[in-house]
């Protein structure tokens, strides 16, 4: 061909084992692990397909979502309120307890390496226990009911929030603290007027965000008997009352959307109010 482009000068970038080897190796390991998992967990296609067919039937039975009677609807509404109460109370308790813990784990407040290391490890350890496990433990301690649920959410989020707060404290600007100290303030005053105003917005917005996400967690802790709407949901699924189950799921979705909207507005108000 006469209109051909001139041959490229110099070396072309290598497209071979050296440049793409690690990538191929990673993909190979990932795919191998996936296949191993499918075989080991016995995820048979036949079972999957027959299950899908049954799932289709269930979806059809869920339509239309309905609470059947008004009195059931009121019961669900009450349980939903309880769920929200659990989320709010659990998160607030966690936040109030997490604040001093956060200061303890922050490097610029307690400049002791041992305390810092131990508190961080402890926070990490407790953080890896799921809310639902906490719920089961608290049920054994305080009995069935929403109180156990609130305690479960508080203990599960205490450490996550403490870690967030300690990071916020560590990244806080030093200059206000130095200013307070330079004008003769005590160390306590430097924390109160130098650090607290900086982390308060972080504190409130994180608490709001956790209330949102805990509304979701609070719906499932009822499954093990720790109060709220989850109890009704798992009951309706167990007795195969699909219309009521789907109605409860819709109620949860509506509640989460509502909390979402409220917390977004509060956060925006806080940002503009400052």
């Amino acid at each position: 061909m006469s209109g051909m482009l001139p041959a490229p000068q110099g070396r072309l970038p290598e497209y071979g084992w050296r440049s793409h080897g690690p990538g191929f190796l990673g993909i190979g390991i990932a795919v191998g692990l996936f296949v191993f998992g499918v075989v080991r967990l016995d995820l048979a296609p036949a079972r999957f397909l027959s299950g899908l067919a049954r799932l289709g039937d269930i979806m059809a039975l869920m339509m239309p979502p309905s609470p059947e009677t008004w009195s059931r609807f009121l019961v669900y509404l009450d349980a939903l309120g309880q769920t929200l109460a659990i989320a709010v109370l659990g998160t607030t308790t966690a936040a109030v307890l997490a604040l001093p813990l956060g200061f303890l784990a922050a490097h610029n407040i307690i400049a002791n390496n041992a305390v810092h290391f131990l508190s961080r490890r402890l926070l990490d350890t407790v953080r890896s226990v799921d809310t639902l496990i906490w719920a089961l433990i608290w049920i054994n301690v305080v009995g069935l009911g929403p109180f156990a649920g609130a305690l479960a959410i508080a203990s599960a989020d205490l450490c996550a929030l403490a870690k967030l707060f300690s990071e916020a404290i560590e990244t806080a600007d030093r200059r206000p603290v130095e200013g307070v100290l330079a004008s003769g303030g005590s160390r306590a005053a430097s924390v109160r007027f130098g650090i607290v105003p900086q982390i308060l917005p972080v504190f409130v917005s994180q608490v709001l965000y956790y209330i949102e996400s805990n509304t979701r967690s609070a719906t499932i802790i009822g499954i093990v008997g720790a109060g709220g709407i989850g109890l009704h949901l798992s009951e309706m699924i167990r007795v195969l009352e699909w219309q009521q189950a789907s109605f409860i799921i819709l109620m949860v979705l509506a509640a989460v959307a509502m909390i979402d909207a409220i917390s977004r507005r509060v956060r925006r108000a806080m940002m503009s109010g400052r």
């Binding site: 499918v38 299950g51 109460a85 350890t125 496990i133 089961l136 301690v141 979701r216 949901l233 798992s234």
Partner: protein, 301 residues
């Protein structure tokens, strides 16, 4: 007002009282408004809290009566049936180690396969949900709604329903994690795709590339690293989630744990919990390492 004395001693310019007065008034009004806003916020927050105290049936008196139980409970967690502290006889404490390790491995595999399927789903969905690549507004809105439902409904609720449809075992657990993961990651992925640089995509289009080629050579190289690191983060979350899937019969170590807790096998509870915590921390550390090396790779390019 010390305006006069200040002027006498120094050469600082101070406004006369007549001009200062409105400024002070404005300042006081602003401070009062701020205080009022703060007070309203505090009152609303207190009201919500009081309401939730009633809603969650918290009674301070029973709380103090029961809080002693907590200490008692945690004390028993640390003791064997014989009454000896657990650490004096590790062999007796971890008597079921072999079985528990196998179940823990199953939990990890459920988390891994569930995450992998979910990531593939999210990958497919994000291109539909992103406004950069698909012009069809209705398809986009539909994809976003579906993703929203998938991530708002907790994975355990999906597991409850799937256990009825697919029967007991790991299959419903994997499906539940996959759907929840697809919902959560689909949204994040779509946001990443919305923020890409369009020039490479236009370049491929100008060279005559198909839609597929534009995605493959224009989009994927830009987003792959962030997709991978979000997927790893999700895997960490799913390991925690998979540890409780067994509570509803969807496989893994959860079933063993709920039986131990319900039947008050205290030493077993603490042994299994320790194993889970150890495993989760190990996974978190490995995944953090991988994410950091991914970030380094990205930085080197």
């Amino acid at each position: 007002m010390t305006a006069g004395t200040a002027r006498a001693n120094h050469t600082i310019a101070v406004l006369p009282d007549m001009q200062l007065a409105p400024l002070f008034a404005a300042y006081r009004a602003a401070a009062a408004a701020r205080r009022f806003r703060l007070l309203t916020g505090a009152v609303i927050a207190a009201a919500v809290l009081a309401l939730s105290f009633v809603g969650a049936e918290v009674e301070p008196r029973t709380f103090w009566a029961k809080i002693g139980n907590a200490g008692d409970y945690f004390f028993r967690l640390a003791h064997l049936d014989t009454g000896a502290p657990v650490w004096t006889d590790p062999a007796e404490w971890f008597w079921g180690l072999k079985r528990w390790t196998r179940l823990l491995g199953e939990t990890l595999l459920i988390a891994y396969v569930g995450t992998a399927v979910g990531v593939l789903g999210a990958f497919a969905a994000c291109f539909v949900a992103s406004e950069r690549l698909v012009g069809n507004r209705w398809g986009r809105a539909a994809a976003r709604r579906v993703l929203e439902v998938c991530r708002t409904v907790p994975d355990l609720v999906f597991a409850l329903i799937f256990v009825v449809a697919f029967g007991l075992g790991p299959l419903p657990g994997v499906m539940a994690l996959a759907i929840h993961t697809a919902g959560a990651l689909g949204k994040l992925f779509a946001e990443i795709v919305d923020n890409i640089d369009m020039k490479p995509v236009e370049g491929v289009a100008a060279a005559g590339g198909s839609w597929f080629a534009r995605v493959r050579f224009g989009v994927v190289p830009q987003v792959l690293a962030s997709f991978a690191s979000y997927s790893l983060l999700r895997f960490e979350i799913n390991v925690r989630g998979a540890s409780v899937l067994g509570f509803v019969g969807a496989g893994g170590i959860g079933e063993e744990l709920i039986i131990a807790i319900r039947r008050f096998y205290y030493a077993d509870v603490s042994a299994i919990l320790l194993l889970i915590v150890f495993c989760v921390m190990l996974i978190d550390m490995g995944s953090a390492q991988l994410r950091h090396s991914l970030a380094r790779l990205e930085g080197a390019r």
